[in-house]
Point group: D2
Chain length 359, copies 4
C-alpha cells in the first residue's frame, strides 16, 4: 500500500466504499491560508455521482469536514485532516461477486495481493477512493491560484469515437466545461457524446473516453529531474487514477511521426518572458516547466462493470455467466474532469514548493 503522494505537500488518503468514511491528511500545507469546507466542497460536488442522467443515480452528499489544521479560518501549517462520511457503512452483500471476480476489475488482483478484499464494490479500487484526492487537490489548487495565479481546466475531449472539435487551451474555462452534461466545452460535440452515452446506457454497456487538461500561468522552473520531472509526476498521478490506460503531454504519440524541424518549438520573446512560438512540448522541457501552458491528455477505458451478461470464470476457474446487479456509470469521463484537475494541482503544488526552496 502506498497511499501517500508528494514530498513537501504530502497527501495521504484512506477509505473504502463501506466503513465510516473516506478522506485524506494533508501534511505541509502552508500556514496562514484562509480555508474552510466551502473551499473544498465545490470540486467534491463536481465529482459526486447523481449529477445528471448520464451517471449513476446513487445520491451521495459527500460533505467534507475539516478535522484539524485550521483555526479561526486560517491554516496552522499543521496536518489538515479531511473526512467525508459514507452513507452506507454496512459491509456489502454482493452475493455472486464473492465467488466471481468481475472481468477487467480489481477483484482478482486485490485478492491475489492481499489474500482478502473488501466485500463492497471495489474497496480502494472504487472511484470513491478519489474523494480524498479531490478534497486535498482543492486545497492545493487554492494555493496555486492565490500565490501564482495558476488556472487548471480539464475537459472531455472524446467519448468513444465521438471527438470534440478543437478547444483553445489558452481560453477554455470551467464555466464552459460545466455548461454541458458531458463536460465537453464544444456544444455540438457534447450533444453527440451525450447521445452516445445514452445509447450505451440503454445497451447496458459502457464506453471510454479522453480527458484533456491545461494548466496556465505556471512559471518556468517547476519539476525535479531526473525522476520527479514534471511530466513524470503528472504521468504517475494520472495513471494512479482508476480506469486510466494512457497519458500524453504536448504532441504525445502523434508527435512521434514528426520530424525535428517540424516539432521543435522556436523561442520568441513574449512580454517579460522568453516563450515559444508553438507548444509541441506541452509546456515541459527536460522535465521542467517552460512557462508555456502545460497540456496533457489522459485515456480512460470503458467502465468494467456492465449490465450485459458476460462469459467468464469464477475464482476456482469454473466457467460462469456473470450479470452485474444494480446500475453503474456507463461513462466516467465527465466525473473524471475534477479528479484530473485535482491530481494536477497536487503534483504542481508539490513541485512549486520544491522549487521555492531555491528562491
Amino acid at each position: 500500500m502506498s497511499s501517500s503522494l508528494g514530498t513537501l505537500f504530502r497527501v495521504s488518503t484512506f477509505g473504502e466504499s463501506h466503513g465510516v468514511g473516506v478522506g485524506a491528511v494533508v501534511d505541509g500545507c502552508p500556514a496562514g491560508l484562509h480555508l474552510s469546507e466551502a473551499d473544498i466542497q465545490g470540486q467534491l460536488d463536481r465529482r459526486r455521482p447523481g449529477q445528471s442522467d448520464l451517471t449513476t443515480p446513487r445520491e451521495e452528499a459527500d460533505q467534507v469536514t475539516i478535522l484539524s489544521g485550521v483555526e479561526n479560518g486560517l491554516t496552522l501549517g499543521t496536518p489538515i485532516g479531511l473526512l467525508v462520511h459514507n452513507k452506507d457503512q454496512r459491509p456489502g452483500d454482493y452475493g455472486e461477486m464473492d465467488q466471481v471476480p468481475r472481468p477487467s476489475h480489481a477483484d482478482f488482483t486485490y485478492q491475489a495481493k492481499y489474500g482478502i478484499r473488501a466485500s463492497s464494490g471495489g474497496g480502494r479500487s472504487s472511484a470513491r477512493e478519489t474523494i480524498g484526492r479531490v478534497a486535498a487537490g482543492a486545497i492545493a489548487e487554492k494555493i496555486l491560484r492565490e500565490e501564482w495565479g495558476v488556472e487548471i481546466v480539464a475537459w472531455v475531449s472524446s467519448i468513444g469515437s465521438e471527438q470534440s472539435s478543437d478547444i483553445d487551451p489558452e481560453t477554455v474555462s470551467r464555466a464552459q466545461v460545466d455548461a454541458t452534461l458531458s463536460r465537453c466545452p464544444d456544444q455540438p460535440s457534447a450533444e453527440r457524446m451525450e447521445a452516445l452515452v445514452r445509447e450505451v446506457l440503454d445497451a447496458k454497456d459502457s464506453v471510454g473516453g479522453i480527458v484533456s487538461c491545461v494548466c496556465r500561468n505556471i512559471p518556468a522552473g517547476w519539476g525535479e529531474p531526473v525522476f520527479d520531472k514534471l511530466d513524470a509526476k503528472l504521468a504517475q498521478a494520472m495513471l494512479s487514477l482508476p480506469a486510466t490506460k494512457g497519458f500524453e503531454i504536448g504532441s504525445g504519440f502523434a508527435g512521434t511521426q514528426l520530424r525535428g524541424s517540424q516539432h521543435n518549438d522556436p523561442f520568441v520573446q513574449k512580454g517579460e518572458r522568453l516563450g515559444t512560438v508553438t507548444n509541441n512540448a506541452g509546456g515541459v522541457l527536460g522535465g521542467i516547466s517552460s512557462g508555456e501552458p502545460i497540456l496533457f491528455r489522459v485515456a480512460f477505458k470503458p467502465v468494467a462493470t456492465i449490465g450485459q451478461p458476460q462469459q467468464t470464470a469464477d475464482f476456482s476457474g469454473k466457467p460462469v455467466t456473470m450479470e452485474a446487479k444494480g446500475r453503474h456509470d456507463p461513462c466516467v469521463v465527465p466525473r473524471a474532469v475534477p479528479i484530473v484537475e485535482s491530481m494536477a494541482a497536487l503534483v504542481l503544488l508539490d513541485l512549486a514548493l520544491r522549487q521555492k526552496v531555491r528562491g
Copy 2:
C-alpha cells in the same frame, strides 16, 4: 533535484556529460547475488552510441566499475556504487549555445530553474544521464530473472510514420530485436525504418518513434495502490526518460473508443493460474499485476538537436538563426530499447520486493 527512485530497491544516479563520470548507487540490493561488471556491461553496450551508422558516431566505451557492495563476486546487501568514466572531462565549449537556448531542449528550463547550467551538451538532461539507470537496471533485471523468471523485451514499433507489423509479445526475444539495426524485430518494417532514418540524417533532421515493451512471467500481486500502482510507477519511470512524450498500457488511447463489452478481458483457467482470454488490460488491474504479460508503449519525440538552421531567439529574446554543430543522433529509439527495459526492471523489482513483505 530528485535523482533517486524506488522504496526498497533504491537507485540514486549522478553525472553529467562532462566531469569525471556518471553512475549510480543501488541501495537495497539483496545479499548473496552473484554479480560482476560483466552482468552489467551487456545492457550498457546496447545503449552506447556508435553502434551503427544510424546513430551518432561518438565512440564511448562506457566501461562500468563496481565501487562497493560486492565481495568475492557476491553482493553484500550493502549499497552498490557504479561508475562509468567520461572520456572527455573538460567543460564544454559550445560557443553559440551559451547565448542561445536550443529549441525544444532543456537549456532554457535548466537555466530558469537553477540559474546556471552545464556548459556541456545538456548536463543532466543529456542522454548520457541514462547510463546510471541502465547499469542499475541490469542488476534489477538479473534478480527478476533469477528469482521469478521474468523476461523483459522492448522493441521499436514505429519510427516516424513507419510502423511495424504485429509483433507477438508472448514470444518476441532480444535476439530478434537486435537482429536489425533499428531494433524492430519485423525485418521488412525494419528496413523501411532504417531507410527513413538515413533519409532524415541526410536532411540534417531527426525523427521520433515508439518503443513497445513486454514483461513476462510477472506473478499476480505486484503494485502498491493507490499512488504506487504498477502502471503509475511505469508511467513515471518512462516519462522521466529524456525525449518521452507519452505512455500507454494495454489498450491505451485506442481502447477509449471501445465499449466495455468489447474491452473487458474475461477470466479463464490457464494451467495453475486464473488468467484472461484477452489482455486489453496490459497485465495490470487496479494497479496490480494480474499474471498476464505487461504490455506498454512509450512515445519518443524527434531529437531536438538538428543540423538544419532554425529561426529562434537567444536568452535575451533577440531573434537569431541557430545552426547546431557536430553530428547528432537522428533517431534515439533504437538506443532507447535497453533504457526502457532498464526502467521497467527498476520499477518491477522495487514492487516485487514490496510485495515480498506480504509473503
Copy 3:
C-alpha cells in the same frame, strides 16, 4: 511539517487540542489481521489524563473510531484511518498567553516557524498530539506480539532524584508497572516518587523523570544500516515525543567510562541461538538487533507549564510576570509509559517488515 513515520508500516498523524479531533492514518498494515477498536482502546486509556490524583483532572474519554481499512473485523491491507474526537472543539481563549510565550514551551518557536500558532494549549506541541501515535502503536504492537511474540514493557525508573531500585528487564510486566500510580514497578520507590509528585503539585511546580523500556523476543536482524539503524530510529522516535531531552541504549552514557574489556559482551550459546553473557549493547550491535532484549531509557524534562509566577518577557520583549491558569500535570512520566511503548512498537514493526523482504 513532517507528521509521517515509517517506510513500510507508515503512520501519519494529525490533530490539535482543539478542532474536531486527533488521529492517524496507518498505511501498510498487513491484511487479514483481526482488529477492532478494543485492540486500540487499552493503550489510549493508559495514556489519557485524569487516571489518578497525580495527573491533570481533565476527563477525556478519548474513544477511538476506526474509519477505514477494516471489514468484518479483519484488516484489508488498505490504510486504516483512526479518529478520536476532541471534547472541546472551540478555539481556545488563553488570554495572556496570546501575548506571552510560555517559558520552555513551543509557543515562541511555532510562532517563529509558521507565523501563526494555535490559540489553544500548544497545538501540535501538546501532549494530545500523541493520541494518534498511541492508537497506531497499539496496532503495531498487536502484530509484533502475534507474529513474533514480542513483548514491550516500559516503566518509570526515576522521578526527580527519586530512583527506582533495579528492575529485572527479563521479567518486568505491564501488570507490575500498572500496580502503582507512578508506574514504577518497585513499590517502595513508587511510594517515594508519588510523595514527591504530590509535594511538587502543592508547590505549583513540576518535575521530570526517566522512562525505561525493554523489548523482548526481538529476533536478530532488525535494523537498516546505516541511517535507519534500530537504535537510530528509536532515538528519533523518542526525541520526537514532547518534553524529551535524552535517549540512551544499553550502557548509554555510563558505559563511556568503561574499558572495552569490561564493556564487551562475550558470545555464548543460549538454547537455539547465539546470545551474549552480558548485554551492555542493549540488544543492538552495528544498528541491528542481536536477539538479546532491547533496553533503552528516555529523559523527560519537568513540565514547562507551572502555576508559580514566572519572570519572563512577552513577544515584544517587554518583561512580564506570567502566572499559568488552570491545573496541569506536575509530572508526565507515568502517562508517558504507554507512549514510549507505542513509539517503540512503530519503529520495531517497520524494521521487522523491512527485514521480512529478505526472508
Copy 4:
C-alpha cells in the same frame, strides 16, 4: 539497507573497508555554490586515522574526488558524486574472525541480517563508512556558514572517567579543539585524557568517551514537527554513527532531576531577537530551533576490538579464546569530533531548506 538521509539535501553513502572506494552522492545541493575538493578535504583530514600516537597508525590519505555536479568551480544543482579510493582493495583475510564473531562488534548481526558479511574489518559497520558522511557534511557546513553564518564546533568532553572542566559553548573554536591531541579544548583535562588513552593502549584495552557539540547562529524556526523535530533528527543522526550509545540535548538526563521552576528558560530581549536567559532547552523548543545555541552530547562506547584475549564463542556456539590481531584505535572520540560536526551539518541544512520553503 538505508544509506540515504535527508529530504531536500539528501545524502546517499556507499562503500566498505575493502573494494574500490567509499563515498556519497549528494542530491539537492543548491546551484551556484563555489565548491572544490579543497572545501571537503579539511574535515576528511581531521577524521582520518594516523594523526597522532593516540590513534591507529594506519596511514590513509583519503583524498576525495568530485565525480559530478560541479563545473568550473560552481555547483550545478545536480547530484554531486564524491569518491575516496581505498588503499587496499583486496578482500580481507581475517582468519579466525571468519569463524568467531568479535564480541560487541557487528559481525554477528550482519551475518544474521544478510546471511553474508564482508570478510574485511567490519564492512559497512566499520568507521571507514563515515567518510561519505564527512565529505557530504563538509558541503552542508559550507552552505550553512555562507548563507546563515552557522558555526558548528564539537569537542571531547570526557574520555573514560576523565572529564573536561566547563567549556564555554558561546566561544569555543575548532582551533582550540585541535590544539590538543585529544581534541579537548581544556589543556589540563586534555593531558589527563591523553595519559589515560596511552595507559589503555599499553593495556591492549580501549575506552569510551563523550563528544559535546554546539551549533551557533541557527535562526529560530528550523525543525519539522512532529517526527522530524530538530532534536529527533539529531538523535537519529548521532545514533546512526558507529559505537554511539546515547544522545542528550540541553539539560538532558541531568535535567530530569530539576523542578520546572528551576529548569524553565525565561524569555528576554537579546538585541533584535527574543532569547532566553538560560538555555536548559539546548536551543530547541517543541522540536524547533529557538535561536539560542544548540547544545548536545553524544556517548561513545569503548572500541570493541581490543588486543586482550577474550573468552567468547564462535558462530557455532563453541567456547573459544579470541585475540585480535593488528593494532586498533584505543579510543575513537578524538576522531569522532569532525564526524559529529558533519552529521549535525547534514541535519541542520536539510531542515534549513525545508524551512526556506516557508520564506
